[in-house]
């Protein structure tokens, strides 16, 4: 009897968890906007009808079904919610810096829905962010794709549950500094980085083989075969080899990018996206042919040696060479104006409106494996939408309202200034923080590995 009670209680607990993951979905009719669909051109004076979180109809003179609110967007622009393929918002910790391979750790275990940065990103029109592990490891942890459902306090509610799995890799200065220089273990060089990758994948091949052998032996009658010891780290690497996980690799220099392309080709890995990729322009034809493209900064450079030989024309060169290209933030401030970052590709390389906007919508959606669900205004897609005053590629553009699944989470006119979901009981006075350069958190939680305060310089990016 007692056992049954526990079981029921456990079941009840489970069902509550599932119930809370039932996210809010809204309905709304947005009227008379200039609709930037991304995939199907620009529609003047058009309406978008959203029902139950899905884009039901795009057209003219649509009328609102009973109970559906209408938003007049006359003179304004409507575009799909902006997607950031590289962010660290909404995470309690970033780096598990203890080993060159930590594939077993998961960012979905450390999602923090209270991060006010999520609201601030919404105020910049960003509805989805790729919450990534840091860049301390050659093979880092598994990332989480977040939907910015601000106000939900259950981490499960802000995770995009229908997004595919992705994992963080990192090449170059960060992993070699943390492990080689910080801990005195391989990798200390870009040679070591390649060795870590190849050793890891070869071990995973053997691991998979031992499981395959066990599985076929144990299916025999009266088998006495013993299962291999479960190893989560190798299991994840094995999942990568089977194409179940998309690699998102922090990288800067052309040589290391080319190295990973070769490693991936040797192991038949095709689900590979490069992150930052400042020298991607030098190997643009290779990136275009063998990978899912690159997610880059619009103009960041020179903050460390491996980005000294950068160019703000990177995104344009990659695009013209046929690589899928997105613009990301990796930064709690930059994420607030990705529309403006995308616009810089017009200054640096003459990208068209369509190309520039694709870099913050459908292209990152492709790189995250969610382009069938979001990234454009099309009937049947999830209703993540932003209304802008002014064209979003104008430097004077101001986001007005942001919707996720048809629910409005940002309204410039109605929202209260203070958007905190909780106030810290331990801090009597609210801390005041003055901006430092490059707020990137890629190397957060690795500070203890470095002794001098001067090395704080090195912790950016």
């Amino acid at each position: 009897m007692k056992k049954t009670t526990y079981f029921l209680a456990a079941l009840l607990g489970l069902s509550i968890q599932f119930a809370s993951a039932q996210v809010k979905k809204g309905s709304v009719l947005i009227k008379n906007a200039t609709v930037l669909t991304i995939t199907e051109g620009v529609l003047e004076n058009s309406d978008v009808l959203v029902q139950d979180g899905t884009i039901k109809k795009v057209g003219q003179n649509l009328s609102a079904p009973n109970g559906v609110t209408t938003v007049d967007a006359t003179g304004k622009y409507l575009m799909p919610g902006i997607i950031d393929a590289h962010s660290h918002l909404g995470l309690d910790v970033i780096n598990e810096a203890t080993s060159p391979i930590v594939a077993e750790v998961r960012m979905k275990d450390v999602v923090n829905p209270y991060d006010v940065g999520i609201y601030r990103a919404l105020a910049g029109g960003v509805t989805i962010s790729h919450a990534m592990h840091g860049s301390a490891n050659v093979i880092g942890g598994q990332n989480a794709t977040l939907k910015h459902r601000w106000g939900s306090t259950d981490p499960a509610d802000i995770i995009m549950q229908d997004a595919p799995r992705t994992i963080k890799f990192a090449l170059g200065e960060n992993p070699t500094r943390v492990h080689g220089r910080g801990n005195g273990i391989q990798p200390r060089t870009r040679m070591g980085v390649e060795a870590i990758l190849r050793n890891g994948f070869n071990e995973a091949v053997q691991y998979k083989k031992s499981w395959d052998e066990y599985n076929s032996a144990s299916s025999q009658k009266n088998s006495s075969a013993l299962p291999p010891v479960h190893n989560e780290r190798l299991q994840i690497l094995s999942d990568i080899l089977e194409g179940k996980i998309i690699i998102h690799c922090h990288s800067y220099r052309a040589d290391e990018i080319y190295m990973l392309i070769n490693v991936a080709r040797d192991f038949d890995i095709t689900k590979l996206v490069f992150q930052h990729t400042n020298e991607g322009f030098k190997v643009a034809p290779e990136i275009a042919k063998y990978t899912m493209g690159a997610s880059v900064f619009a103009d960041w450079w020179a903050y460390k040696f491996e980005v000294y030989y950068s160019t703000a024309y990177n995104a344009a060169i990659l695009t013209e060479n046929g690589a899928i290209t997105s613009i990301n933030s990796d930064d709690a401030e930059l994420i607030r104006h990705l529309y403006h970052e995308a616009a810089k590709t017009q200054r640096y390389g003459g990208m068209t409106d369509e190309q520039a906007l694709a870099m913050i919508t459908i292209n990152p959606a492709k790189q995250l494996g969610i382009s069938d669900k979001v990234g454009s205004i099309e009937e049947g897609k999830q209703a993540d939408l932003v209304i802008f005053e002014g064209h979003p590629l104008s430097s004077y553009a101001v986001p007005q309202m942001t919707f996720v699944d048809g629910v409005k989470y940002f309204d410039i006119k109605e929202d209260a200034d203070d958007q905190r979901l909780k106030v810290s009981p331990t801090e009597m006075v609210e801390p005041v923080t003055i901006a430092d350069d490059h707020n990137d958190r890629c190397m957060q939680d690795t500070e203890h590995l470095f002794e001098t305060t001067n090395s704080l310089f090195l912790l950016n990016q």
């Binding site: 020179a302 024309y313 430097s395 923080t433």
Partner: protein
Amino acid sequence: MKRLNTTFFALLLALLPMLAVAQQLDGEVVKPRAGKFLLQNATVVTITKGILNNTSVLVEDGKIKEVGTGISADGAEVIDCSGKFIYPGMIDGGTKLGLVEINSVQETVDHMELGNFTPNMQALTAVNPNSVAIPVTRVSGVTTVLSVPGGGLFPGTAALINLNGYTPDQMYAGFEGIVMNFPSSGRRGRFDRRSDEDIKKANEKSLKEAEALWENAKSYASLSANGAELEYYPEMEQFAKATTGELPLLIEVNTVSDIQGALKWLEDKDAKVIFTGVAEGWRVADEIAKAGIPVVTGPIQSLPTRESDRYDAPYANAGKMAKAGVKVAIRTNGQENVRNLPFFAAFAAAYGMGKEEAWKAVTINPAEIFGLADQYGSVEVGKVANLIVADGDPFETKTNIQHVFIDGYRMPLSNRQIRLYQEFLDRSPGLNMN
């Protein structure tokens, strides 16, 4: 004959290396070029005297010689600017440009000297005229920047430079100021994990130190003025200039309590003061305006200083201070991306400042704040010919900056980032060797 042949071949052999050298020097270098230029038939946005249609600007001897219609092109290189816009070059009121090449490579970081009291450290001597970031900045239309040392309480002397020239003297634009990092009660970023108590103590100690230094500097100045023979004390010799008003004091101050603290600290001091940073200026804009202290604020694209703040507080800050009557200039506080100054100004404009005021904040206002309004900050006859020609609004990313003039030099619109674009847009060899 044979001998002639030998001579001929010997000569040829001698010449060969020269030919080879000529072949090795492939590619053209474009240099800044001085001259007399007539920028014809543009829309001239003067900043101080309205917008003039179908107007030409004559550049000669490094100055704006004439602004008007029907200017004689005699001897001048004519540049057709019909359908285009002429603006004054933009001024960034606070950067580390030229002082920091690669932020994480300490050997290239020259803006922070050791010590707490080093006002004699001269930014101008450490500015690298050949920094790769300078031509990268120039093509955005930023022609003049304040290069600012950082670090301790009085870290050094900032200098205004034009982004043209091969020596600091050629670049120097005529303004210097002594930097003070006002003792801060705020956190310096997410790495700052001191307790509130520790911050408060450090703050009080620094204020006492600043007060003592100021008093000493006053004595130093008066003794010096009275012809006393003073011990060699280069720090104090430089700092004394702030107490006499010979050099202004650029006070970096950001939080409300620090701004108010600085205003109070200044009450009994006779100094020319400019506030810099001023991230929370919007909270006490009236007090700053009342004190008549001009402000160089930024970066505009930054996070609110407090979690409870409205998301757009940093975008709106410049506009709110301007509306309260503060004279406001905008800075990037950057090194490699000073080129974003026009975009920072656009954000300030969009979030309440308005375009006209935002333009002033990157032209005539910094010129006035630095006491150089007779030379910089507008398109007016007699001023230094720092000009940009664009096919639209330079604050918009779609606009192309087509000409940049600094000190009347026509600047090359190229840099390493552009050359990489030219080389790699259509790489050769491409994917395959053959």
